[in-house]
């Protein structure tokens, strides 16, 4: 079982403001249900290779849960902003990845980035397409982004967690098409649901 969790996020992203931070807080709430998990937060200006390589990663030579709440593309997750941009194509510390899990809401990372995690003997949970967030309905997106993690904390395998997350997406889609109609938002949740991907160890619990 994984006993080490590392959070990556930006508290005040120039584009999505505190969305990633709120996601990380929600994730931390879920992980707090497990008392024996050590949690490390890496945020804002600490998201840079010099800090990670010299200070942070040497402390994490065990398989880990990497929670990445960030912008992303097919090959990387990244931080925007002029002062301290950061692009990560590969997690530098292989020992944290081996047997570990990368859980992310970063767009498109399910394409190449996620497959590279598997090449490092890790597992991956994330999206393989661009995911739009409606800030007017961010609570639904935060909940759906994190529901897979909630299920993992409950002891589900990656495969079970993904299926349960899809049910959560369906619940929100139904809410937004029947109870409080907003089909444009529901359409984006449908798109996110259908672009959720998992790779690696699918059939054994991580937490």
């Amino acid at each position: 079982m994984i006993k080490n969790a590392i959070f990556f996020y930006y508290r005040n992203d120039p584009i999505v403001k505190d969305y990633f931070f709120k996601c990380a807080l929600k994730a931390e709430d879920f992980l707090n249900m497990k008392e024996d998990i050590v949690k490390t937060h890496i945020s804002d200006s600490n998201c840079n290779f010099a800090y990670l390589d010299s200070v942070e990663f040497p402390k994490h030579n065990i398989k880990s849960l990497l929670l990445i709440y960030s912008h992303g593309d097919a090959e990387s997750f990244y931080k925007t902003g002029d002062s301290c941009p950061f692009i990560c194509k590969k997690i530098p510390n292989e020992s944290s990845i081996k047997g570990g899990l990368v859980y992310t809401n970063a767009c498109k990372t399910g394409e190449e980035f996620g497959k590279n995690i598997v090449a490092q003997d890790g597992s991956f949970y994330g999206y393989c397409a661009e995911v739009k967030i409606f800030l007017s309905h961010e609570e639904h997106f935060i909940e759906c982004d994190n529901y897979g993690l909630f299920r993992l904390v409950q002891g589900d395998t990656l495969k079970e967690a993904k299926n349960r997350a899809k049910e959560k997406f369906n619940e929100k889609i139904d809410l937004l098409t029947k109870v409080h109609p907003n089909s444009v938002v529901a359409a984006q949740l449908r798109k996110a649901r259908d672009n959720l991907v998992i790779y690696g160890n699918l059939n054994n619990p991580f937490l």
């Binding site: 969305y19 593309d73 809401n105 739009k132 800030l135 369906n170 889609i173 444009v184």
Partner: protein, 194 residues
């Protein structure tokens, strides 16, 4: 549901024309004898469900029908435009109208055919996904406020989205496709076996 508006831009037509009187039973109808005023009206009423019925020839100093069509298409590719004219089209003019998404071309003498084509255009408006998304977005409060942000960093307001839909850009088409896929999902989810 609000009535669709038929916007006639025609310098020969009178308010008392039997065609307009008949159409008023089912539609709101406005008539603009000056083509430039008609264009302004169309551009200022993008947020309504409108169909434009456009003549080609206008007096010196006013834009011709093909120029009006081009100006409409620079801001909105969704508005159905019907050309209703007594002029015989040259090949060059016909290509211009076709390439700028003219829905029908009807000779001025064919009043019944015009009504039939207006009914068909109205049906298209009512079932067209892009048009209906556009109208929904138009009803939003604070249309300049950021409506959604993608985690690739793209952010858009309702007004940005309206523009993308009207100009049939990739973003607008993606949104249209997303809504259609949602519709299919809602119809068939959990019903894999019919």
């Amino acid at each position: 549901m609000k009535k669709i508006e038929i916007v006639f831009i025609d310098d020969n037509l009178k308010e008392t024309s039997p065609t307009l009187i008949r159409l008023r039973k089912n539609y709101n109808v406005s008539l603009h004898s000056n083509s430039n005023e008609g264009l302004d009206y169309v551009l200022n009423n993008n947020a309504k469900k409108i169909i434009v019925v456009l003549d080609i020839g206008f007096p010196f100093g006013e834009d011709s029908g093909d120029q009006i069509l081009l100006k409409i298409r620079k801001t909105n590719k969704l508005i159905p435009v019907i050309i209703w004219s007594a002029l015989r089209l040259s090949e060059e003019l016909a290509i211009k109208f076709i390439n700028n998404q003219t829905l029908y071309f009807i000779p001025k003498t064919k009043h019944d055919e015009l009504r039939h084509c207006i009914d068909a255009a109205a049906h298209r408006i009512n079932i067209d996904v892009a048009t209906n998304i556009e109208l929904w977005l138009e009803q939003q409060n604070n249309k300049d406020q950021t409506l959604f942000i993608s985690s690739t960093g793209k952010s858009m307001s309702a007004n940005d989205l309206i523009h993308e839909i009207r100009m049939e850009t990739q973003e607008g088409r993606d949104l249209e496709a997303d809504i259609l896929q949602l519709t299919v999902d809602l119809l068939f989810r959990g019903k894999e076996e019919i």
